[in-house]
Every structure is written in C-alpha cells, then in structure tokens.
Symmetry: C2
C-alpha cells in the first residue's frame, strides 16, 4: 500500500511508522514537485493542504485518503474530494499551544514597545518611557472559542485581562468572562483593547472583518490575525491602519501568501508582519504524527475512530 | 509642614493629597536639581532614591522622613539615615505585575524570534522558520520568590512551564514547582531554560551571579536581569555571552546606569538591552501614591502602621 507525503516529518517519526506499519510503502518528499515522482498511484497522500488542486486529484486514480497535516483545510479542493469519495482528515487541535504563545508574544511585544527599545539599542540610546500600558485589566476580544481561542483566553487570564469570546451562539466556554454570538460580533469588537481573529476560513467567515468592523473597534485597539488571511478584508485592514481606526496590528496570515512584495503592510510602522509562523514549532510533528498514526490504524485495521475526519458537506 | 518631592506624581494625585492633608505644604519637582530650591528645609522628602547622597542629607537639617517611590533602596545613603534617625519607607510590592509582564514579554520575544522577523519585514523577506522552540514544558529558574518572582511564576504556569525558585531557605511558595535554598543556587541554575534574577541588592546578593554561575547554566539558557545590575558581575555576563556559555539575555538593569556608551552589551547580537523600564507603567502612580498617602496618615496622625518601613540595620 503506497503512502506519498509532500512533507518530511523527520527521520525519527518515519522509522517508528515503518516499524508499526510494515504493509505500507512510505515515499516521503520535501515538497509536491519532488513528490510527483510517486504521487499518481498513491493510495494515501499526506500534505499540508496547500499544494494540491483538482487537476492533480483527477490524476491520482488510486487515491482514497488525504491526511492533511494542518488545521485549515480550506485550500484543498473539497468539492472534488467529495465527488470522488476521498476521505479527508486533518490535525485540527494541535495548534492551540504554539498559536497562543505567538499571540501572547505579539501582545506583550506591543505592551513593552519592544521594537522601540530594539531601535534605541542599535543607536545606543538610553531613554526611558514611563507610560507603557500594562495588560493588567485590559480586555481581549477573541473571535472563535475553539482550541486556539480557549488557550489564548487561558493565558490572558494569567495577565488579569478580561476575556471576551465570540462564537456562533454565544455559548459559554472555560476561561472566557463574557461570550457573544456571531450576530453581536460588532458589539464584542467595540470592547476589545486587543482583538484576535482565530476563526477558520469558511463561506461564513470569508471577509467577516471588514471596514465596518474596524470602525467598531477602539482607536487604541491592537488587532491580531492568526487564522486565515481571507477572513479579513485586507484592503479594509490597510485602510484602518492608515486612517488610525485602530492603533496597530500583528498579522501572520494574508489573503495571498507569500505576502506580495508591493503590499503596503510590509512598510507600515504600526504593523508587525510575520510569515505564517504562529502555528509552527519544534513540537509540531510530535503532536501531528500521532494523529497520522492513529488514523493509519483505523484505515488499515479498522481499530477505533478517525481523528478529525472532515465532513465534506460542511467543510469542517 | 514641608514636603518636597523630586518626582512628579501627577496633578490628579497631588490635588487629592492636598485636599486630604491640608497641614502639609507640597513642593513637587521633576528632578533633584529643581527640587534644591526648597529641599534644604524639607521635613518629608519623596524620591525615587537615586538622587540623594550623604552630603545632601547633611544639609537637610529638618529632614525626618524619606518616602522612596521605588522598591530598591540600595542607592540611598542608608548608614547616614540610620545615624541621623531618619525614617525610610518604600513602595516595595507594587512592581510584581509590570515586571512579570516585562519578563514574559522578553521570554516570548525570544520564543518567537521577534527581532528576526522584524528585520525580515524591513527587507520584505517572507521566510518561515519551523523549529521555533515552544515555552510549553520548558523550565524557568527564578532567583527570588517575593512579589515579583511569584508573579512571574504564576504567569509561567499558564504557559505550562516548570517553575523553580531560589530563596534563602528553600521554603515553598505558591506557583513554584520546586524550591532551592541559596546554598543550592548553582544546582537550580543548571536546570533553567530561562533564568531570571529578581533579587534585591544587599551585601549578600552583590555580584551573586558571576562566571561560576554562568558556567553552571545551560548553553541554551536565556538570562534575564530585572532586579539590580550589581547583583550580576557584568564582566562575567559579557564573557558568558561572548563565549556562548549561555545563548542570550535580556538585561534591564546594569552595574552603572545609564549604561556606558562604550559597553559591549549595546552591540552584542544576543542581548536585548532596555533602559530600566521593566517596573514602569501607566499604573505606577496609581499603586505608589496610596502607599505615600497611608504613610502620611501614620506620620501626621499616628493612624495605623507604616507600609514598607525599612529596618536600617538590615537594609531591608
């Protein structure tokens, strides 16, 4: 049985999988271009989900299962997979910790004005600043209260922040002081000193944060996007930052990635741009590979349940 | 009764104090130079504690009480105060929150390699990095388990870090997983992925972190000093960073402040230098002035107890 991967999950992990699943022939590559060598008769395909399209799927005649090693499955040709009856699983749930660490990092970076002092250091300038604003008592509004949103809220509570969450029905979730339904999004946004977008990309969330939403935010608000770029209207974000509808932002995901060389976001002094790194860490494969392993066990032997089997009707 | 302050605690706070204490004449300045106008017949002197020396104290013939608006009282001429029987009080205990926020900020800054991505942004470089090391599961060794150390440990627990504390006897303290006595300092240091110096400056803590201690630390350790510069042998720190005995550092306090223009620390690429800002924030006076107010009440009317009255024998 042939498994092709367009990503390398590390020699240690691979050796263990080979020992456990000797019925499988593993073909592991660093990217889709290399993988094409063996791709077209693969039965199982392992991918980050960004490198495959309808045309390739058509050519993969033996394909039965795609294990996406990301949380977001929006870049996969979901309709084609449904049409062909291909099983899709993800590693949703493993990003809470690294992404929450990233979010608290950019919030605290803003809190201590780290780049100001970094530039001062370069110029050997000893200049104190007494009015740095504490996180203590500030409000964080988190859109999405899943694994990631909840982990951010947990950490924010250790900084004595007030935590506001937004989810479909406004149901209560641990670590959140107040919950709002999606219908009351704008009201929730108006309360945030920090606003964090964690929502996955779906039909409903596409450009859910536009100019209207930025206008509702505080002029002192700090906006963070770590979900998917297309959940935010990027032109509206740029306008909001230019016109100071909000104070500043840290943006890890963009409408198109890599971010275009001529995007104004690169050079605005109130934006911190990072190249979609918030979910990456040295622990990634330690959490993702066990999901692949369990799913292989189900696929081969029918043992237990698939982890994160995607409902291709709901695309979630 | 004459009160002279070499620091401005804000009009709002001053007005309230004037209303409450109409027996006192308040003379508020921005620094000691300006304050000299009224200083020499002051009965009460309010200071950050860095601007006064034995000579000035000698000239202040009516001085009975110094309210230090800092935690550290090490720069004050303590022997002279004791000799003259002058009361000394501090605002110890108000720095836990801002300093713990600063410490988590520089730790998380290191975690996401924020300056790397800041430089990449300047050059419009989209380059991801997959091996960023999570805080999750890392060990933080905190020297000093008072208000500041404890608040750092509390926040570190929200990042699922292991917290090790060092205090005189190794007594247990909330939020710390393990405690070591001062005698076992070197062993504690050897376990830290992050090492934070919070100890106040006393005879015992003077240069307590020297080359021997840096040699005990992990070569991957990140060292943070937010206490007093003189608790660390600065030459040894520079050597440790040059020879990579430790990986990197964030240093907010120095043997001499401002940091000398020719200090190698300014230009080392594995050090983040900040100008003694970790305790500063917009909330500072909101926490410090109520202590002054309570102490004024004791001084004038004998109501209650002084907050943070310093024992000039122990200098603590």
């Amino acid at each position: 049985m042939k498994l092709v991967s367009s990503l390398d999950f590390g020699d240690g992990h691979l050796e263990k999988l080979k020992q456990k699943f000797n019925r499988i022939d593993f073909y592991i590559y660093n990217n889709i271009e290399e993988a094409k060598e063996q791709l077209f008769d693969a039965e199982i395909f392992v991918t980050y989900g960004f490198d495959i399209n309808e045309e390739l799927i058509e050519k993969m005649e033996k394909l039965k299962w795609i294990q996406c090693m990301s949380t977001g499955i929006d870049a996969l040709p979901l309709n084609k997979l449904r049409e062909k009856g291909i099983l899709l699983t993800s590693v949703r749930g493993i990003h809470g910790i690294p992404i929450a660490e990233y979010v608290m990092a950019v919030i605290l970076n803003h809190r201590i004005e780290a780049f100001r002092f970094y530039e001062q250091q370069k110029n050997k300038i000893w200049k104190r600043k007494a009015d740095l604003e504490e996180l203590f008592g500030k409000t964080i509004c988190i859109i999405g209260t899943g694994t990631i949103g909840k982990e951010i809220a947990r950490k924010a509570k250790a900084f004595d922040m007030k935590t506001i969450g937004v989810n479909t029905q406004g149901r209560s979730v641990e670590y959140f002081d107040e919950l709002y339904s999606k219908a009351d999004l704008n009201e929730a946004l108006s309360k945030g000193d920090f606003v964090v977008q964690t929502a996955p990309l779906t039909k409903e969330s596409y450009k859910m944060i536009g100019i209207e939403q930025f206008k509702k935010m505080k002029p002192t608000a700090f906006f963070i996007n770590i979900g998917r770029g297309q959940t935010v209207d990027e032109k509206a974000l740029i306008e909001a930052l230019e016109k100071k509808l909000i104070k500043a932002a840290a943006i890890d995901v963009f409408e198109k990635e890599p971010l275009a060389y001529d995007s104004p976001l690169w050079t605005m002094d109130n934006v911190f741009v990072t190249p979609h790194i918030s979910g990456l860490s040295d622990m990634y494969m330690n959490r993702a590979v066990p999901i692949l392993e369990q799913n292989l066990r189900v696929y081969l032997y029918g043992q237990g349940e698939y982890i994160n089997k995607i409902d291709l009707e709901k695309a979630y």
